[in-house]
């Protein structure tokens, strides 16, 4: 179909779909006054039954942990797909040789102040990430958010103009190992629930006291597993894309 026909078709269909959506959404309960019984029940359960003060994490890693399991593996599968797609056109052997000159060429412009700021950022990001992971069940945070922050830490090395150093700090095999370990760990923790408590993903560890670091049973463990996986996955994705830019773009030079 030509572009004009395509747009004309959409010009007829789009408003129709918009009308359908609006008519449906119109029936939603008044904004700001939601009475969903599921949420209200959960608000009462998580702090008292599971000693978790971050109710969202309580849902994510306990009540609806099975959804999180599926979600983790969506991440895992997609990142594996990215690695599959982008790794092909590179020769593993002389990659370092080629990238050496290119990296120095492309990123040599980082000024000293930028390098200094990056050096300060890295420990900040890593410690923030670790804090978020461990306090998942207590305060806002949890594995997913923390994983992204942790992944940003090594990425700051790139800002410092040291692409090769990034590759040495976060080599692909390590990232893949971390990614896989996180995914497998979450599954194993669930199995712990099956073996020790009779049901898959049942919280089988001591619940501790609300507000303390070691509380809410298996939730911190789940948080760590997810944090590991997300860190590995995001760093892997970013470095794969960067490799494309640095190494594969060599034809342009």
């Amino acid at each position: 179909m030509s572009r004009r026909v395509r747009l004309a078709l959409f010009a007829c269909a789009g408003p129709g779909l918009l009308a359908v959506l609006l008519l449906g959404l119109h029936g939603l309960p008044a904004f700001g006054d939601f009475h969903g019984v599921y949420g209200l029940l959960v608000d009462r359960i998580e702090p008292h039954v599971r000693h978790a003060t971050d109710i969202v994490t309580g849902l994510n890693f306990d009540l609806r942990a099975f959804d999180t399991l599926g979600e983790e593996f969506i991440l895992f599968a997609s990142v594996s797909g990215v690695a599959l797609l982008l790794r092909h056109l590179r020769d593993e052997d002389d990659e370092i040789e080629r990238s050496r000159s290119l990296a120095e060429h492309r990123f040599a412009g980082a000024s000293d102040s930028l390098r200094l700021m990056s050096l300060i950022l890295i420990p900040l990001l890593v410690s923030l990430g670790v804090y978020l992971v461990l306090h998942g069940a207590l305060t806002p945070g949890g594995g997913f958010q923390a994983g992204v922050v942790l992944a940003a830490g090594p990425l700051a090395i790139l800002l410092a103009g040291r692409y090769l150093a990034l590759k040495r700090v976060a080599p692909e095999w390590a990232l893949e190992a971390v990614d896989s370990a996180g995914a497998a760990a979450y599954t194993l923790i669930g199995l712990g629930g099956l073996i020790f408590a009779g049901v898959y993903l049942k919280n089988f560890l001591p619940l501790g006291t609300s507000g303390h670091l070691l509380s809410a049973g298996m939730m911190p463990l789940n948080s760590i597993a997810v944090g590991l996986e997300v860190t590995g996955a995001f760093l892997l994705t970013w470095t794969e894309f960067l490799d494309q830019d640095v190494i594969v773009a060599r034809e342009e030079l």
Partner: protein
């Protein structure tokens, strides 16, 4: 006022679709996909909102405070993770499309005709 988030969501959904249909650059197509997805965030979060309520973290407030619905927050979290990963996969495909087809215009991808 009270229907605004939902109206915005419906608009985002359709305008994102328009972006996908009309785009002449695959990167833009993929980004329009995330526009469509943000419509889903809006609806989910809008549904769970309660006036005058706090975030569902009871570390420093009494446990029987009025809280925003936590379930929709979890749904959005899952939604975001799914989006991020599928967009990453799609962008990797777009990079490869550029490498193999020499173009990111959907009209230049002519390997599949029936």
């Amino acid at each position: 006022m009270s229907f605004a988030p939902y109206a915005a969501a419906a608009w985002l959904f359709v305008i994102g679709l328009y972006g996908v249909v009309s785009s002449q650059n695959l990167v833009r197509t993929v980004l329009n996909l995330s526009v469509v997805q943000s419509a889903t965030y809006l609806v989910l979060l809008g549904v769970g909102y309660r006036h005058g309520a706090k975030a569902p973290i009871v570390a420093d407030i009494p446990t029987n405070s009025r809280l925003v619905d936590p379930v929709t927050q979890v749904l959005v979290l899952t939604d975001i993770v799914i989006e991020a990963t599928v967009i990453a996969l799609l962008l990797a495909l777009v990079v490869q499309a550029h490498n193999r087809f020499g173009s990111v215009d959907p009209a230049d991808l002519r390997a599949l005709r029936h």
